[in-house]
């Protein structure tokens, strides 16, 4: 009973904030509604027993992607009113494309069938999900059966990082930077110079 209630609350808020994302006039508000939608979707995942997906949704999508969107929206001066022009004009075509996609999805789900050997080869590695939580199960798979792939993926990310730094980092001489050690190492002798100023002479 409570579960159903919670589900409807999360679902309703998700759908409502989804609508607000595309209809909000202020792009910053749109991104904030997107974050709300992510949070409620995470709640839905929790209800479904997929707590790992819920965590990833919050950590990755809210923590990184949505905040990045927010930064982009706030830093770049994009004229969203201009982008929105002709919305009604494209509505029929867009609606048609949406309907076609919906029909295709319905067709696919209607005739879904697994390859005969698929279940066999998948089931061999997955721990019993009645005994362990799915985060635990994923971790066990990732660090045992997929250990090699996990390490290679790490190397791929390392290359991405090296590449980004190599292609964008420039050492610019002549830029004034704060060097705390040098500041602290300054003494009176190195920074203050006492001069005898003759009357009416100047330096």
């Amino acid at each position: 009973m409570i579960q159903a209630l919670v589900f409807y609350v999360f679902a309703a808020i998700t759908v409502a904030s989804g609508v607000m994302v595309i209809s909000a006039r202020n792009p910053v508000h749109a991104v904030l509604f997107l974050i709300l939608a992510f949070f409620n979707a995470a709640g839905l995942f929790l209800l479904a027993g997929a707590e790992f997906l819920a965590m990833v949704l919050v950590v990755v999508y809210v923590g990184a992607v949505a905040v990045l969107f927010l930064f982009v929206v706030m830093m770049l001066d994009i004229n969203f009113i201009k982008l929105r022009e002709g919305f009604l004009q494209y509505l029929p075509i867009g609606g048609l494309v949406g309907l076609i996609l919906l029909a295709e999805l319905a067709l696919v789900f209607g005739s879904w069938s697994f390859a005969p050997h698929a279940a066999l080869s998948v089931a061999t590695h997955v721990p019993d999900l009645h005994v362990v939580t799915n985060t635990d199960a994923l971790g066990r798979l990732l660090f045992t059966h997929y250990f090699y792939l996990f390490q290679v993926a790490g190397l791929v990310l390392l290359v991405a990082m090296i590449g980004t730094i190599l292609l964008t980092l420039r050492s610019r001489p002549g830029v004034k930077k704060q060097n705390i050690a040098r500041q602290n190492a300054r003494t009176k002798e190195t920074s203050v110079e006492l001069r005898k100023v003759p009357t009416r002479g100047g330096i």
């Binding site: 390859a115 050997h117 698929a118 080869s121 045992t144 997929y146 290679v152 290359v159 991405a160 090296i162």
Partner: protein
Amino acid sequence: MELPNFSLALPEIFIALSAMALLVLGAFRKQEATQGIAILAIITMVVAALLVPAAGGNRAETFGGMFVVDGFAVFSKLLVLVASSLCLVMSINWLVKEKLERFEYPVLVLLATLGMLMMISANNLISLYLGLELQSLALYVLAAYQRDSGRATEAGLKYFVLGSLASGMLLYGSSLIYGFAGTTGFDDLAKVLAHGGIPVGVIVGLVFVMAGLAFKISAVPFHMWTPDVYEGAPTPITAFFAVAPKIAAFSLLVRVMVGPFGELTAQWQQVVIFVSVASMLAGSFGAIAQNNIKRLMAYSSIGHVGYGLIGLAVGDQVGIRGLLIYLAIYLFMNVGTFAIILAMRQKGRLMEGIDDLAGMSKTHPMMAAAMAIFMFSMAGVPPMAGFWGKFYVFMAAVDKGFIALAIIGVLTSVVSAYYYLRIIKVMYFDEPKEALDRGVSGSLSFIMGVNALLILVFTFVPSPLVSSAGAAAASLFGG
């Protein structure tokens, strides 16, 4: 859960750890350590090359069947390591002369090589993709290494966008194969497909995977990026592009086609034949109008890919042996030619025009002789190794009854002989406008000399290469 057998992947683990150690070393010692790091990277590759045969000549799998070692892998890995280390040797001099010393360069070459070794040993669609991506990502960055040059950044961006598209196609194909066959492991795929009743989805997926891999070896119709990227990328990187990734992607293609999809030979054979013929034609006719030697080498490499694919199209042990011999000879011809291109300087500037070679026979007689050897070899003139490379591939095709394929190969070789011989004519008979700089660096002359010698000697001592390639091909079919 017992531990996987790490010793099979010893060369890969060694390279990965060294690359990370060199990265840390570079971060502390800054750019002046570049030369030292490059030398250490070369030593790493040499040590890895010594570890490769020790890691396993017999077929063995590890990491839950994701990683396989066999005679074929050992042969291909040795070729890749030789190619990468020779390219790095050529790069050191270039980095110093162009004042582009950055320690990330040797590290990225090392990581790209690591990706290639992983590709060669891939025994699962996921490990195939990750190895390929590790390799490609490092290569995209290397293509744009000269970031202040417009052409290099254009080359890098073009390669990145088109390469990502190819990776996407490969992934799409893999997902179809997984969806219809229910597994990503090559061994399981072979078992599932051996039952017969192969769904159409698997064949569609296979074609997509082939398209992705054809892009990586720059076979027609996925070759459009090659001339632009080869021209724009820095020359030592172009030399690297032209050999190492192609050998790795070729090995991967062979392993995928012969291993899990061996049952579908009739289906993929026609695709490979088309790609092979189209590559031979595009390579030989496209190069005729080129005046930039790097573009010419790009078209030449497309043509060579076509000849190599004949070996795969034949699809039996003899064909794969021919392909491996071809790849090995291709490696030495190409590295040697690029060493000469890197030595073409006028007043310190690198030259890339074919006209700039004029009069080289008078100013640099030895270099001109080496270039003549490489060009004759690429054209397939008999005493040189290049002739034997083509010979083994064409003979395999004729034995299996692919006579039309062999005839097209011979005809396109004749067409391509035109532009290889044109280079020799320019070097020996044209009057120079401006002479090339004297004083070629020791490492470049060494590479030219050794490669020219290897190409001449092969005719008299062919057995080491031919027998090891034969053993490698046999290991692929033995299991």
